[in-house]
């Protein structure tokens, strides 16, 4: 088989377009022809490397430099023709200014979908590169990141969305608290930095639960992540968990209350004393009272994630 014919089959292989006969020819060429094998290895290697460079954002510069270049010359035009060109340019420039003013800000890194969140110290739903985010409500907040990833953050969580750093498409600096992170498929690595260490997504998708500061606890439900910090490095697959820093069962940082979560059917409600009886799934009954004191901690009652009044 000639080199050109094999190249043609190779292109079709990469596009998944080989029919039965072509597939047989392609397979036979690789099995019997060393030149075809060399070509095959070279091509799939280039394809894999292009994929890698693309995922790490290396072609972004190429895109910018690929912008068309042109030159406008007014020589040889009459006065009214020059006036017309100037008017067209004025309209075009005004249009572009309006377009860019109305366009979505490219520094936008994410949006708050639900929950009570302070962005850069103010109540808001737009998260930009470098924004600090604090979950102020008593229920988790959901944040959709620009790369398609979703973070469901626990109350009290504080983090900074740092955006792209070299090969890493999204870096998040987690200062406290934690949550679940579902990282979208492809587009390079996703990293969460904490004082105890960092978590890097090696594969395509994962869900992790973090607790910081003091210790970093990661539990992976899908995909693979890598933990680095304090001289240790470990890779965790689905169903595995790992810690860096302190033990998983270490006390929560001071000021952070461990929420009591109970579920069941509400029975007797005493509206005068703001109390109710909860029939729990194991058959037991407990009485809960809103606004009561448990030690130094004031207890609030939340029903379906909302504070009960």
């Amino acid at each position: 088989m000639s080199a050109d014919s094999f190249d043609e089959l190779l292109d079709m292989y990469l596009l998944g377009e080989l029919n039965e006969q072509q597939w047989a020819e392609f397979q036979a060429a690789i099995a019997t022809d060393s030149a075809a094998r060399a070509r095959f290895v070279q091509s799939v290697s280039v394809e894999a490397h292009l994929h890698r460079l693309g995922a790490s954002g290396e072609f972004a510069a190429a895109r910018a430099s690929a912008a068309p270049r042109w030159k406008l010359s007014l020589r040889g035009l009459s006065r009214w023709q020059r006036g017309a060109v100037a008017a067209i340019l004025l309209i075009a420039v005004t249009g572009m200014i309006v377009f860019y003013a109305l366009r979505e800000d490219s520094s936008l890194m994410g949006r708050v979908e639900s929950g009570s969140v302070l962005v850069d110290g103010k109540s808001g739903d737009r998260i930009r590169e470098g924004s600090s985010v604090r979950i102020t409500g008593m229920s988790p907040a959901v944040i959709h990141l620009a790369d398609g990833s979703i973070a469901t953050l626990d109350p009290g969580t504080q983090l900074v969305v740092k955006g792209r750093e070299k090969d890493v498409r999204q870096v998040i600096q987690l200062a406290g608290g934690g949550g679940q992170f579902q990282v979208s498929h492809g587009g390079g690595q996703f990293r969460i930095d904490t004082a105890a260490g960092s978590v890097t997504v090696l594969g395509t998708q994962f869900t992790a639960v973090l607790r910081a500061p003091g210790g970093l606890y990661v539990s992976v439900t899908a995909g693979t992540v890598r933990l680095d910090g304090q001289g240790k490095s470990m890779t965790l697959g689905a169903g595995q968990s790992g810690t860096l820093g302190v033990a998983v069962n270490s006390p929560l940082p001071s000021g952070v209350a461990e929420p009591l979560v109970a579920s069941g059917t509400i029975g007797l409600v005493d509206s005068k004393n703001l109390s109710f009886v909860l029939a729990e799934s194991d058959g037991s009954e407990s009485r809960y009272k809103a606004g009561s004191k448990t030690g130094d901690r004031e207890t609030d009652v939340f029903l379906d994630g909302r504070k009960s009044t």
Binding site: Q27, F40, L50, H51, F59, T224, T235
Partner: protein
């Protein structure tokens, strides 16, 4: 061999193993998923104290098994592509024959960067849309106001030019 050595070797040869899995699957998303499983398998084997004599051949074997598992599960695989073992043998042979060149991943990446830099601006834009934005041929065609056929031809040509360019640079490097 220490378990950490196996993990380090996996990271070191990740691109080569990705290329191998891609060669067998020609699907980037699937190749990423399978490589992820291979990584977990390697670490599990490392924890068990497995000490392969030839890491790459051993890791390729693990990857090949994962791909075969996938195809056994995927009922949608076309009948004429079911001769997986035969094809995988040929791909194994190809990767074994060229293992020395493939192992210098860093240099290949550097050469590829240089070769991409030598493409015209329009082709670089197309490469960006394909490999960074992961657009389909139709989407690239729509974005660049070309036909899908023209994009297919241009992409094939670009891949061929890049493969030739990298190959030339590698041969020149070997000769010096």
């Amino acid at each position: 061999m220490e378990p950490s050595t196996l993990a380090r070797q996996f990271v070191q040869h990740r691109d080569l193993l990705y290329g191998y899995v891609f060669a067998l699957t020609r699907d980037h998303n699937l190749a990423e998923d399978i490589l992820q499983d291979v990584g977990v398998s390697i670490l599990t084997e490392a924890a068990r104290g497995t000490m392969p004599e030839h890491f790459l051949a051993w890791a390729r074997g693990l990857a090949r098994n994962r791909v075969a598992d996938h195809y056994r599960r995927a009922a949608s695989r076309r009948q004429h592509e079911m001769s997986f073992e035969q094809f995988a043998d040929a791909v194994d042979l190809a990767f074994t024959e060229h293992s020395r060149t493939l192992e210098d991943n860093h240099q290949q990446l550097q050469f590829l960067r240089e070769c991409v830099g030598g493409l015209t601006a329009r082709v670089r834009r197309m490469i960006h849309l394909r490999y960074h934005d992961r657009l389909s041929l139709d989407e690239i065609a729509s974005s660049l106001a070309w036909t899908s056929g023209a994009i297919k031809v241009a992409l094939s040509r670009a891949r061929r030019v890049l493969a030739d360019c990298v190959g030339r640079k590698l041969r020149r490097e070997e000769a010096t």
